[in-house]
């Protein structure tokens, strides 16, 4: 089934919107698997997980079994190599239908933790870490942000000093996704002088003496275990150095472009969830003697949401085509992320407004998504930093 417009149905929902030629049979098959998986293994429990502040660890194994954790990783480590960013769009969309970004953030946290190891790590390190992570047996987090700052990565302060056959690490990290339960942590440390050229990446392991963690409570993403990490004379063997000393900054930066496509795809998918839920509500609810969806003010809200979602989706797909053709359109990927989080913000607002009090109640997808807007707009490169990067790239 190729490109066709909807048939009087919602132009922006997950199954009836315009699906261009970018989506092939394999994408559809993968979408169908994820749809079932999310509906059977996640949807029935998500409210409970959110209130409990965590989801069962077993979910990592289940996600590994269907190939979700291995998506895009080499076969030798148990992954399924797909050199096609369309898979990350399909995956982000289907996971977003859960309406609980925190589950996805922790479940898929290896997506930020593991790539630096695979990109610049030693063969021995890759062979030791990657198979366990992709099998869902070990959790792999990423620690960059510090209490003294996150956006200005090049100025991070956590120190690693040479000590015989390894390093001694002192410092702390904050807002670390998966930080409470992770087994492996890709941690950025300062091994050299100031600036980006003094940064290295080390693989820290859960049980290393002197490494402790505390949980953090958040506005949203409740089922994600976000933590502060403390390093107090933690001894790290030199085999755990990821890549070369003082060459860690590149390892951090390499993954950002790919990550941003995924973040943009999920932000616009969350916007679509908001649209869907609000539409179902407005078609059903009556006020002043007619359907809510028949009041012009409400109809215009939907039209406006649809416009922004469609524009963002088009931008996303355009960027994907360019990436598939081998380009790295940094300015556009940055602006795309901004576009996507603003669309999510707008739709969360409008959808909750349309749903009224019901939209403000817990257990409603829109209520949760509303509380997750800012983490999308701040994490993975804040809106300000994204615009700044784009402006520099554009030579403004």
């Amino acid at each position: 089934m190729s490109a066709k417009f909807s048939n009087g149905q919602s132009p922006v929902d997950f199954d009836h919107r315009y699906m261009g030629p970018l989506y092939n049979d394999d994408h559809r098959a993968w979408r169908a698997t994820l749809r079932k998986f999310v509906e059977a293994e996640m949807m029935p429990h998500v409210d409970e997980w959110e209130e409990a502040g965590e989801f069962p660890r077993e979910l990592y194994k289940k996600a590994a079994e269907i190939g979700l954790l291995g998506l895009g990783y080499p076969e030798e480590y148990g992954g399924t190599p797909v050199d096609d960013p369309m898979y990350s769009i399909v995956t982000a969309e289907e996971l977003a239908r859960l309406g609980a970004g925190g589950v996805n953030a922790s479940l898929m946290v290896h997506g930020i933790g593991l790539p630096p190891v695979l990109a610049i790590g030693s063969a021995a390190l890759k062979a030791r870490v990657a198979p366990q992570v992709l099998a869902g047996e070990k959790i792999h987090a990423l620690g960059i942000t510090e209490p003294s700052g996150g956006s200005d990565v090049a100025n991070l302060k956590t120190r690693a000093t040479r000590d015989g056959d390894g390093y001694i690490v002192n410092g702390s990290k904050i807002f670390i996704t998966g930080g409470m339960r992770a087994d492996y942590y890709t941690v950025a440390v300062r091994t050299g002088g100031p600036g980006p050229k003094g940064i290295s990446l080390l693989l820290l392991e859960r049980d290393m003496p002197g490494f402790t963690r505390t949980p953090l409570k958040k506005q949203g993403w409740w089922s994600s275990d976000t933590a502060a990490l403390y390093f107090d004379d933690v001894r790290v063997p030199k085999e755990n150095l990821i890549g070369e000393e003082n060459n860690g900054f590149i390892g951090i930066m390499l993954n950002f472009n790919k990550e941003r496509i995924g973040l943009a795809a999920s932000a616009v998918a969350f916007a679509r969830v908001c649209f869907e839920d609000a539409l179902a509500w407005a078609r059903d609810r009556e006020t002043f003697g007619k359907r809510l969806a028949d009041h012009q003010v409400i109809r215009h809200k939907f039209a406006e949401m649809a416009r922004q979602i469609a524009a963002t989706q088009a931008y996303l797909e355009q960027c994907v085509v360019r990436v598939k053709e081998g380009e790295t359109p940094v300015a556009d990927l940055s602006l795309l992320k901004v576009q996507a989080t603003l669309t999510m913000e707008f739709c969360a607002r409008e959808a909750m407004q349309i749903m009224g009090g019901a939209g403000y109640m817990r257990g409603c997808r829109v209520e949760r998504i509303y509380r997750e807007v800012r983490v999308n707009a701040i994490g993975g490169g804040s809106e300000e930093i994204m615009r700044d990067l784009a402006a520099r790239q554009l030579g403004i």
């Binding site: 066709k4 048939n7 009836h16 098959a29 993968w30 169908a32 797909v82």
Partner: protein
């Protein structure tokens, strides 16, 4: 042992069906389609037989429009070995499906055919039974458990008031009920591997079957709207309302 499993492409169970305004059928344009859930169960059972070393090959067959290859690919991703697409743009009625399947059985010579007990689109619940009759084979319908006893099949069916066990000679037709198993997910690595598995393309004519409809659909309409209920205040009122409705004496 070779197992043949027919799989049908149907409107996804989550889709809200809409009747066409001219009342000739339901709207299928741009509607999400999936494998008939009972057929997923049938495939799962066949694949488990293969994993248990009992079956040597699992062949998935779909009869329908070209996009039915997607359905076959799902079966292949779940573990079937190869596929056969019998392409037809016409609606193929159960008897014609059974006739085509008979042709495939004669060509493929399977020892066991596992079908879904019915397809969730037209709920006919006829194909398996008709195929058994056309072939003159034993049949066990609505299976909730399949075991082997030497060269015979012990098949458990859920019937009113309990479980019935049939002992069937091979070759056999089995239709799968809901509780036979829980189908696995088609994992991403297996979706990729399925691309390399062969799918033969055939037409009904290859099996000498004319798919011309024998049934004429006069009209398709929405089910009647349910009347709103009322809330009763007390047991007395409940009893009197039930009497009024003639439900109790």
């Amino acid at each position: 042992m070779k197992v043949l499993v027919p799989v049908k492409r149907v409107v996804d169970y989550n889709v809200k069906i809409r009747v066409k305004s001219d009342q000739t059928g339901v709207d299928l344009a741009n509607v999400k389609m999936s494998m008939n859930p009972f057929d997923e169960i049938a495939i799962e059972e066949a694949v488990r037989l293969k994993e248990a070393g009992k079956a040597t090959e699992v062949v998935a067959v779909s009869i329908g429009v070209a996009q039915s290859t997607e359905t076959i690919r799902t079966a292949l991703a779940m573990g079937a070995d190869r596929g056969i697409l019998v392409k037809s743009d016409e609606t193929v009625e159960p008897l014609n499906v059974a006739k085509i399947l008979k042709g495939i059985v004669e060509a493929e010579k399977p020892d066991l055919v596992i079908l879904g007990k019915q397809a969730i689109d037209d709920d006919s619940n006829q194909t398996g039974q008709m195929l058994a009759a056309l072939l003159g084979w034993a049949q066990g319908t609505f299976a909730s458990k399949i075991e082997f006893d030497g060269d015979k099949i012990l098949l458990t069916r859920e019937i009113d008031g309990g479980l019935q066990t049939l002992k069937l000679n091979m070759p056999t037709i089995v239709t799968a009920d809901l509780r036979l198993n829980e189908p696995r997910y088609a994992s991403l690595p297996n979706i990729m591997k399925a691309k390399k598995k062969p799918i033969d393309e055939k037409t009904p004519a290859d099996y000498g079957v004319d798919v011309k409809a024998r049934l004429e659909v006069l009209k398709v309409t929405e089910p009647p709207q349910r009347q709103a209920g009322i809330k009763v205040e007390s047991v007395e009122q409940l009893v009197s309302k039930l009497k009024e409705a003639g439900v109790i004496g």
